[in-house]
């Protein structure tokens, strides 16, 4: 089955992006496909390569990049939400791209399930 994932909150502040990661990993392990993850609102803050968590903590951004590379996931960051929060191409981590909200509606249409993580 194909899953689309929507993430509406930033890393570390809320558990949303942790839950989304663990859900996505489990879905892939069960043989499902996750063609696209859409980062909206504060969710765009998951995409900055400048982040540097403490040594004993998880690296949320790197986890996304690695998952995307291994499984060919399209990590899409909402352009309007990103611009107003200072997420631009120059700070984007590997695997992320910036695009429009149409990419969210599109995955909603194309995927079998859309799963939302927010606050």
């Amino acid at each position: 089955m194909q899953f689309g994932i929507l993430i509406n909150e930033g890393p570390y502040q809320h558990q949303a992006s942790d839950s989304a990661y663990l859900f996505t990993k489990a879905a892939l392990e069960q043989g499902h496909e996750v063609p696209r993850i859409f980062f909206y609102m504060d969710g765009v803050n998951n995409a900055t390569r400048l982040q540097e968590p403490q040594q004993d903590d998880r690296n949320i951004v790197r986890r996304w990049s690695q998952l995307a590379e291994t499984h060919g996931i399209d990590l899409v960051v909402c352009v309007a939400a990103a611009l107003r929060r200072g997420i631009k191409d120059e700070v984007l981590a590997p695997g992320f791209r910036i695009s429009g909200l149409g990419q969210l509606v599109e995955i909603g249409i194309q995927a079998d399930r859309l799963v939302t993580f927010g606050d």
């Binding site: 609102m41 509606v105 909603g108």
Partner: protein, 130 residues
């Protein structure tokens, strides 16, 4: 308010419901829900909007967020009809708990009771909840 247009998108038609449960202005959820709704219009899907709990406050008349230097997006709900988005459902119990009626809202809506709202939700292909 849109980032792009995808008028040439074609495919199956799904029933999309946007569920709005948060008050406006305290968080950006209400505004960003409306942004997705407007974009979705370009995809020719079967779109409906549900307002319940504090989400009914999004449609309240007389809002003026400009006094907070914020965007005053409530009038945009009146533009939805022009995008052929005409299914706006508002939960009766939510209105009543807030001392409101349909007359307090900026747009004509269909007021439904909780049981009917639950049926409408269960009847969707995709639910985006904000």
């Amino acid at each position: 308010m849109s980032d792009e247009f995808e008028d040439d998108f074609s495919g199956e038609i799904k029933r999309f419901m946007f569920v709005n449960r948060k008050a406006p202005h305290g968080t950006i959820y209400a505004l960003e829900s409306l942004e997705v709704v407007l974009i979705s219009a370009a995809f020719d899907q079967d779109v409906s909007l549900a307002f319940l709990d504090d989400g009914v406050f999004q449609l309240r008349k007389g809002q003026n967020a400009n006094v907070l230097e914020m965007k005053n997006f409530a009038p945009t709900y009146r533009a939805l009809e022009g995008y052929d988005i005409e299914k706006l459902y508002v939960e009766r119990e939510s209105l009543e708990a807030r001392g409101m009626t349909a007359d307090d809202l900026v747009v004509p809506v269909e007021v439904v009771d909780r049981a009917r709202m639950a049926e409408l939700m269960a009847d969707q292909d995709v639910v985006m909840s904000f």
